[in-house]
């Protein structure tokens, strides 16, 4: 994305440099040189405004560099350059042409500091300059900026841009941005009323924000129209809010499902009260970290694939640790489920401390690949990509697991062993292996859950502890030994929690959910999907 944009820019500038040197270029350089003399943010802001006022597309490069903190002053001669950091040295590029002019050690140059205010000024300035950019997404960004920072001076360039625009979507955005600017201009009331209508139709939070400001400042018909528009936006947003909460609930549910699904195997199917489950999740997250570390240092191009690469590895790592735990400890404890609680608790302490000793106690950075960053809008609903992918992922894992359990010979053996170990053994099933592999499967799934959770949570030795209680709640709520129960349990707990949260607050919401679980278990002492029947109870 950035690469593409940079390539495009380079092309533009290559072409520009072929043209006869622009007479204004010297003027621009003179202005840019002022960066070196001014001190303080206000001085730099003045320079930025001056540059922007030239309206020359060439200023985009230095301004964009400034916003990203890449504009430097060489101490020796107070020349201004765009810098590209590469290790300890910085390669210096000409601020206008972008040609490389040399390298400098970091100590020989000073970075021009920017702050948020300055960044905003630059963004606004770039907004006007990029209205005619080739890339529609840049134009959309420009329209967006201008919508949020209405200015009467914007109307003219916007009019021009609207006239030239061919893309209907962009054009509509331009018109909204223009309407926003009209509202702060001294245009006649009729124009303003039309603008309010246009903005009201947009119906999102930005529109609401703008109209609230208008309502506060305007008089007469415009004020009334704004009030009406605000009311209508508010009522539609209220609906969207409800939808938003449900979506958040589903998303939380998917996280719970991921965290719990491995436990649904080790605890639900095998009856091992697996307190080390959270640590399996943690191992998966750390595997992701290691994979990303290797990719960062050796194969930076593969970064977007890091999670895909990490998945099988996390499964393997967690599954083999699970296998070791099963062979080493748990197999001696079948039929004594409560003792598995004690042993696995011990194991969890050891694993936590081991990770702490190896990786240190601090959080590790696990990055989001680009396809998991950001969000998109469905109506007024902002859906973040990482949450969506985690939902998809959780459902996929669930589906695959269900298939394995219900449709493969291994799943059949697994169920046979848990239903009646002795009978299964006498049918020729090698029960020890089935046990070991089942536990490894549950652990491995916890591991791949860790890959996904590393995207939204801390990767630290404490990662597992945060999920273990919730996981047990989900499995028990859904009914031990029933995968569907875990699915339904996770989503219902997630949704109830998130629907309560805006009213009760995060803490009370969670308390209410816990109390509901306690009450629910009274009603159905074996969980949501308990098997009814002639319980063989002695």
């Amino acid at each position: 994305m950035i690469l593409l944009r940079a390539l495009g820019l380079m092309l533009v500038f290559l072409m520009a440099s072929l043209l006869p040197s622009n007479a204004a270029e010297a003027d621009l350089r003179a202005i840019i040189a002022k960066f070196a003399t001014g001190t303080g943010f206000s001085a730099i802001e003045a320079v930025v405004r001056e540059l922007a006022a030239t309206g020359d597309p060439l200023v985009e490069r230095p301004l964009a560099a400034l916003a990203e903190g890449n504009l430097y002053i060489r101490k020796a001669d107070s020349m201004v350059f765009v810098g590209n950091e590469a290790g300890d040295s910085v390669s210096l590029l000409d601020p206008l042409s972008g040609e490389k002019t040399g390298d400098a050690a970091k100590t020989d140059i000073t970075k021009i500091k920017v702050n948020n205010t300055l960044r905003r000024v630059i963004r606004d300035a770039l907004g006007t300059l990029t209205l005619r950019a080739k890339d529609p997404s840049v134009r959309i960004a420009a329209a967006d900026t201008m919508f949020k920072t209405p200015d009467a001076a914007n109307i003219e360039p916007l009019d021009a841009a609207i006239a030239a625009e061919t893309d209907a979507k962009v054009k509509a955005l331009f018109e909204q941005a223009r309407a926003a600017s009209v509202l702060v201009s001294d245009k006649p009331e009729a124009d303003k009323l039309a603008a309010v209508a246009l903005i009201g139709a947009r119906g999102d939070r930005d529109a609401l924000s703008l109209l609230t400001a208008v309502e506060a400042n305007a008089q007469g018909a415009v004020k009334d129209a704004a009030t009406a528009a605000i009311a209508s936006i508010n009522s539609s947003l209220a609906l969207w809010d409800a939808g938003q909460n449900i979506w958040y609930g589903i998303s939380l549910g998917s996280v719970l499902l991921l965290a719990a699904i491995g436990l649904a195997i080790t605890f639900g199917v095998m009856g091992v009260i697996n307190m080390a489950h959270g640590e399996m999740v943690m191992l998966g997250a750390y595997t992701t970290f290691v994979v990303q570390q290797v990719i960062r240092t050796s194969f930076p191009g593969l970064f977007d694939w890091s999670l895909v690469i990490a998945l099988p590895l996390a499964f393997l790592v967690a599954a083999s640790v699970g296998l070791i735990i099963e062979r080493g400890v748990i197999r001696f404890l079948y039929g004594r489920p409560l003792e598995t609680l004690l042993a696995t608790w011990g194991v969890s302490l050891v694993l936590q401390q081991a990770v702490r000793s190896i990786f240190g106690p601090t959080n590790q950075e696990v990055g989001n690949p680009s396809w998991m960053s950001g969000s998109f809008d469905v109506g007024q609903l902002a859906v973040t990509w990482n949450r969506l992918w985690i939902l998809v992922f959780a459902l996929t894992v669930f589906g695959v697991l269900l298939y394995v359990m219900k449709r493969t010979p291994w799943g059949l053996q697994m169920r046979a062993v848990t239903a009646n170990r002795r009978m299964a053994a006498s049918m020729g099933i090698r029960t020890p292996w089935v046990d070991a592999l089942t536990f490894a499967l549950g652990s491995g799934i916890a591991g791949i859950a860790g890959v996904a959770l590393s995207q939204i949570d801390n990767v630290s030795p404490n990662l597992g502890r945060g999920y273990i209680i919730d996981s047990f709640m989900v499995v028990v709520f859904g009914g031990v030994g029933n995968l569907w129960g875990t699915l339904v349990g996770a989503f219902s707990l997630g949704i109830v929690n998130k629907v309560l949260e805006p009213y009760a607050g995060a803490v009370l919401g969670k308390i209410v959910v816990l109390v509901l679980i306690i009450l629910f278990i009274q009603k159905r002492p074996r969980g949501l999907f308990a098997l009814k029947g002639r319980a063989v109870e002695a």
Partner: protein, 410 residues
């Protein structure tokens, strides 16, 4: 039958010894702390008194848990909640005793309420300026919670792991609730900066020794009460419920009431432990509600030997002493040692230290008894055994593999 008698006698003797040791400690330790010069070899430094006093409270908590877990098969993963509630009741009393000596000098409001702009004392703090009231609350609050919780859970026949998990949910919910500053219990910081208990300075060596003695006496009392309960017909019923709940129902017993009584008594014991703990450590905060704390209590009982009275006490003392030792000696690696200990105990000492000792002794005794019986020939008291041919001879001890275990998951 001879072994049965021996067991009974052995168990009773052990209880008597335990009670004796505890009572002796209640006298000797304070003496060695207060009356012996610090240079003497017999001097017990104050911090050891405080430390062991704390361990005794843990031991009481472990014993409380064992009453329901070891004897009734209810694995509570929420006993820390009762402990903490007892502690909070005591803490509230201690807070009120600070009076106007808080940093703001407010005679009514504790410091944390002052800087959080409370205008008046919340209603649930009334009465806590009296020790008797606080003492009642120490018993009543955990007891009532356990009673209400148990009433619903046992009537609905929530058993096994489901019960364990909802007890965990209970303590977790309380943890979150007490973390909330709006609750009026001091939030995360909890209650601290205590000055006096019953007019004595909590930091004085004499007070500390007295608290130690109180803990030891209380533990001795709890040992006696537990022993009395377990030895009564009700105690037999308790174990019957543990081993075959439905059988007791078909005999006409209300298993839910049996459990409820034990659960409530146990919660009250835990509450007392918490109340003694707080003045000795000088702080009570929501961290005590952490589910992991409750799990640790389970581990103490397991290490020592559940289903015995002395076991949980031994377990609590050993594990905590080990923890104190490791955290000072191997600060970076003590979790390995602790984790390893839990795994090792479950694998190699499934019945805990005391349980293992008993089986070992029991085997030896049984062998000796068998030898005696053989020498003496048939026992004259007993009618000759009926001529019943055993169809399926059970291997001795085979039952213990599946054992009288509380079975959680299906």
């Amino acid at each position: 039958m001879i072994t049965g008698h021996f067991f009974a006698a052995g168990a009773d003797r052990r209880i008597a010894i335990t009670i004796f040791i505890l009572l002796a400690a209640a006298i000797i330790v304070p003496l060695l702390n207060l009356a012996v010069s610090p240079t003497s070899a017999f001097y017990i430094p104050s911090y050891i008194v405080a430390l062991t006093g704390k361990y005794l409270c843990y031991a009481l908590l472990a014993l409380a848990l064992d009453l329901v877990w070891g004897y009734c098969g209810i694995l509570s993963l929420g006993h820390g909640a009762f402990f903490a509630l007892g502690g909070y009741a005591m803490g509230m009393y201690l807070m009120r005793q600070i009076g106007s000596r808080g940093v703001y000098g407010n005679p009514i409001l504790p410091d944390f309420m002052v800087f959080l702009n409370y205008k008046e004392l919340p209603w649930f703090w009334t009465g806590f300026d009296h020790f008797w009231f606080a003492a009642i609350m120490v018993l009543a609050v955990p007891g009532l919670l356990a009673f209400v919780f148990g009433w619903f859970a046992f009537r609905s026949r929530v058993t096994g792991v489901y019960l364990s998990i909802i007890t965990q949910a209970m303590t977790y919910a309380l943890l979150l609730a007490f973390f909330r500053n709006d609750m009026g219990f001091g939030g995360n910081n909890g209650l601290t900066d205590f000055k006096d208990i019953l007019g004595f300075n909590v930091q004085a060596d004499a007070t500390r020794s007295a608290l130690f003695a109180a803990s030891a006496v209380m533990l001795a009392l709890a040992v006696f009460v537990t022993w009395a309960i377990v030895g009564s017909k009700y105690g037999k019923l308790l174990m019957a419920v543990r081993d075959a709940e439905s059988r007791t129902r078909f005999l006409g017993w209300r298993a839910e009431n049996v459990k409820l009584f034990a659960f409530t008594v146990s919660a009250v014991m835990a509450g007392i432990a918490g109340a003694l703990y707080v003045p000795q450590v000088g702080i009570i905060n929501p961290g005590e509600f952490e589910p992991s704390n409750s799990i640790e209590v389970v581990i103490w009982a397991a290490v020592g030997g559940r289903g015995t009275i002395v076991g949980p006490i031994v377990g609590a003392l050993l594990v905590n002493a080990g923890k104190s030792w490791f955290t000072g000696l191997l600060p970076e690696f003590w979790l390995f040692a602790l984790g390893g200990l839990f795994v090792a105990v479950t694998l190699f000492l499934p019945k805990g230290i005391v349980g293992m000792w008993d089986s070992w002794r029991g085997n030896a005794k049984a062998m000796r008894a068998a030898a005696i019986a053989e020498e003496a020939g048939a026992d004259p008291d007993v009618p000759p055994p009926p001529k019943i041919v055993r169809s399926a001879a059970t291997t001795p001890g085979a039952w213990s593999a599946s054992g009288p275990e509380p079975q959680p998951a299906e």
